[in-house]
Symmetry: D2
Subunit: 341 residues, 4 copies
Amino acid sequence: MLHFDSDYMEGAHPRILEELCRDNGSQHVGYGLDGICDEAKDRIRKACGAPDAEVWFLVGGTQTNRTVIDSTLRPYEGVVAAESGHISVHEAGAIESSGHKVITLPQHDGKIDAAELRDYLETFEHDENHDHMVRPGMTYISHPTEFGTLYSANELRQISRVCHDHGIPLYLDGARLAYGLAADGTDVTLHTVAECCDVFYIGGTKVGALFGEAVVITRPHLIDGFFPQIKLNGALLAKGWLLGLQFNTLFTDGLYERIARNAIVQVMRIKRGFAEKGYRQLFGSPTNQQFLILDNETMDRLRKDVSFSFWEKYDDDHTVVRFATSWATKPEDVDALLQLL
Amino acid sequence: MLHFDSDYMEGAHPRILEELCRDNGSQHVGYGLDGICDEAKDRIRKACGAPDAEVWFLVGGTQTNRTVIDSTLRPYEGVVAAESGHISVHEAGAIESSGHKVITLPQHDGKIDAAELRDYLETFEHDENHDHMVRPGMTYISHPTEFGTLYSANELRQISRVCHDHGIPLYLDGARLAYGLAADGTDVTLHTVAECCDVFYIGGTKVGALFGEAVVITRPHLIDGFFPQIKLNGALLAKGWLLGLQFNTLFTDGLYERIARNAIVQVMRIKRGFAEKGYRQLFGSPTNQQFLILDNETMDRLRKDVSFSFWEKYDDDHTVVRFATSWATKPEDVDALLQLL
Amino acid sequence: MLHFDSDYMEGAHPRILEELCRDNGSQHVGYGLDGICDEAKDRIRKACGAPDAEVWFLVGGTQTNRTVIDSTLRPYEGVVAAESGHISVHEAGAIESSGHKVITLPQHDGKIDAAELRDYLETFEHDENHDHMVRPGMTYISHPTEFGTLYSANELRQISRVCHDHGIPLYLDGARLAYGLAADGTDVTLHTVAECCDVFYIGGTKVGALFGEAVVITRPHLIDGFFPQIKLNGALLAKGWLLGLQFNTLFTDGLYERIARNAIVQVMRIKRGFAEKGYRQLFGSPTNQQFLILDNETMDRLRKDVSFSFWEKYDDDHTVVRFATSWATKPEDVDALLQLL
Amino acid sequence: MLHFDSDYMEGAHPRILEELCRDNGSQHVGYGLDGICDEAKDRIRKACGAPDAEVWFLVGGTQTNRTVIDSTLRPYEGVVAAESGHISVHEAGAIESSGHKVITLPQHDGKIDAAELRDYLETFEHDENHDHMVRPGMTYISHPTEFGTLYSANELRQISRVCHDHGIPLYLDGARLAYGLAADGTDVTLHTVAECCDVFYIGGTKVGALFGEAVVITRPHLIDGFFPQIKLNGALLAKGWLLGLQFNTLFTDGLYERIARNAIVQVMRIKRGFAEKGYRQLFGSPTNQQFLILDNETMDRLRKDVSFSFWEKYDDDHTVVRFATSWATKPEDVDALLQLL
């Protein structure tokens, strides 16, 4: 069976496991107060061109979104997101559970539009009843989006400007950030992200780590008391150095970029393979998730040998499915898949 | 100045004040455990044709919505509502603040559609990822809606059936219920509401009371521990008999129906008056709120003598405004308004 | 039957009902944005000697405590209170429900001790693990306390200084404040309270109003977004002028002080009456609640004609009971009670 | 430097790392729905003698406590715990943050007393005001306690009976459970725990795993919707098989018991070593944490070569300190420590 279901089906990059094994005899203080975490934070600050940023390590994406958003907002504030955003749809109400509304904007290939955001914020401010409404206190975007699409640097700058014109921090969910940075044709770099966003996270779980997300806070004093808020959200890892060690490894010798690139190379082979056979794609995704429109017959045939994700019904005879690659995808698995087309 | 801004600009019906003054020398036990509350509850049960219903008195609408919804839902559940529902837009995030998502469906003149509700519930249940999504645990409707429109008895029964087919309670926000029941052409009675809904509230604040809403729970055991949940939501009135006294008065000798009817009679005079002058209405509202499309010149002229609510911009030359009447609207005020058209 | 159960068994002072009846024909804008509220706020600011204070009106005590405390604290902060404080024991978990721990200190006749508070705060700050603990973000006291006892002006100043030395606001629950101010021998005035506390509330429900509490915020910018936070807590009264009208009346011509004094005069007659018969009191309360130790035989005998509150078992033969008077207590009821001793 | 600060200073038992490396090439479905988790759950059910128990894997202790407690309680319920319980003191308000009060009972060497628990529950139920108080909805104990002490099987059974007599589930925090089971003289086994508790967790983080806690629910239907509640609490690990793999390894060939035993053997050497030199202990702990009373001179001398935890000041000349061993403590480190005494 060939697996293209998601990008978190494999363990860790071998170098991470090597480091883990090498370090296993050592003793460390807990809760991320160790030296390995310090080293990893420095590497991340350097990679972001943000020497004064605060860096924190958490375990997973939903946990990170919940903790960052709840720690930033005041009780009467909500977070603005695309209607297709992960926090809007697929986090089982984690944001609402922490007391905050997710205010949705229309999505355009998974992205929000700076002009629509400005329009929404201005409309809110001018609404005579706005004290009876949820105040937008943060904007959330994901890059790549849930549909694998990317913002351009210009789009990020515009969204950032709208947020700052209205005194609202911009938060970027980078669960798959590496796959965005490694995509062909993007002009967004880690520096762009750090420059545009007040807080963002660099995903490890889906890009070579066993688990782990690195939160980068570029705006000073954005969040007070973040340590106890991580703790009370159940997001403080006792053996915090395990997170530091993984990010330290990923941010050494360009490993993070390199392994993300593999996912892109392999997914593009898949994309071309389907295109050559005449299959259409739903979004023009340049990243490691491809959404393809298959006739049901082909879909059923492929499923005998390949696992991939159902996305949605397209029409009575066609279905949208998702193929995902990862840092660990083997070229020979893609070869085998292409043979089956 | 003539006031048609809203239906909560006046104090209480004189009979309520009389009762209040008459009772003022008496002493009562607190928290709604007094005899007047008991009497009022009995009258409400009778009026609803629901002899076994539980009845509780709370102070205001947002408080009631928050307390009922949070007390019914499990932590991983949300409440389904029209995108224009009061809890979706104008309660400053009260529902989310209590930990629950408001899941929105499209509104059609302020109403949700039974078929769309069924479709949404079925799609949710069949979604492979539904354990990562917010489970719909209650349906919220308002009657009249925020746009003054009404469900038919048949529509209510259909929505009720959809909810019950999916094991979800139906909750009706009756802040303006009396104005719905008193409307021309409606086939919905208090009995219909009690028959279709698992829990609903009968609004007092907007219909003759100083304040107060009566929650009616027709489904046994729907909510456990409602008393402490009212208390912890800050919704327990120390002098609970003040609520009982008001509802007791409203439900004596048909006062509640009678005074609601006045609002309808007066609003229909306004509606006809505008129609005769050629002004259009946005919704075909049969209740005490009328949404009219005025050219800006007329709007500005009227504003010198009349206060009413801005609703939304219609086009560059026209504006949608709201005229509301209440149980207390004086015929002579409407006369004066009609003179100004 | 004679009733000395509590101080919220009667409606409102007749002058309030008169005002209510007089105003009932008028129309007002909602949510406390009306002119009567403005006038009442001015009177309260003047009475407190705090011309720059913010004043807000809420409906009841638990609601006020929940809204003020949750609006002030950050998510990782708790509120320090006496173990016997109302928020610690008798609010059904309202504070915890809003996400915050009530951190308890020992009570001494219902009061906290400034030195113990300082000791607790210093210990917290020096605890190496304090980032794993709940940060004290506010101090709550009640005056009179739940046991009817009073702080001296000096005690309030000491507690205030401790709070401010540690950067923590002091909040005073004044549900029965008037009875404290009217007590014999107290040196605490409204000016003292306003000077020592960053935020406090002046109780109306128990002192002549149908309902209502006036929140006074003396520290600028203590709470941001208080209006929407009142709303989302379900604590915003639609007909807000009803609160303004009541406080306006209470703060006209010294009504508030005068009617509180009646409660003290009457309760002292009760106190002396029991003392003369040899009954002991549990606390030396100078306010409108008296805690008496009765032998069970006497208690049972009295109960035939008088209702009062069970407080706690004292020993096998004795019980502690509470007698409460109010602004409305009639001298002839006290006469009748004394006859029964 | 010798480290006896805590029991979570080391990585994982080598066999776990071996398994991790061996499995690293494989692909798995996420969220704990994989076969390794199934296998691990079976082993745990077997070890507990609870073939029908539900087993779930979470990442850390605070997260587990928060998620289990919030998922079990109704909004108006709190959890009863010792005043020294981890949830009472050292979880930064995680329980309150989820909306629930921690109701504290006195601790006796870190334990609660069955008779005091019964007394508290009965007093609550008979309190006329209990609807204004937080209802006890669960009892929390830790075994070993935060002071390293242990319940006897009889004590557990008594507490369990009290809980069940009052319809309240018993929850046991087993962060260090293995060290309790491996202690000399205990009559508590995993079977005892499963028999007495409605839900408990078996700690992995402190006993050989990199991270991970196994929640065992023995009472059917105790928690509904646990999966989405794990998710919304940010506690769902994407690569869930990493947890299954670790517990599978720990519960193979008695590894879990064996490595816990090492901690006991080593800590007892330390205990005896200090005792022989005349140092006293604060609690008679039979587990891997020893609380010793050192004169300050000795403490300062030892600190040059050994790290251990400050616990509290004993008197002006003495300090209580904690020495902790773990599954990974090396005999030669203990040798070196003993040399220093």
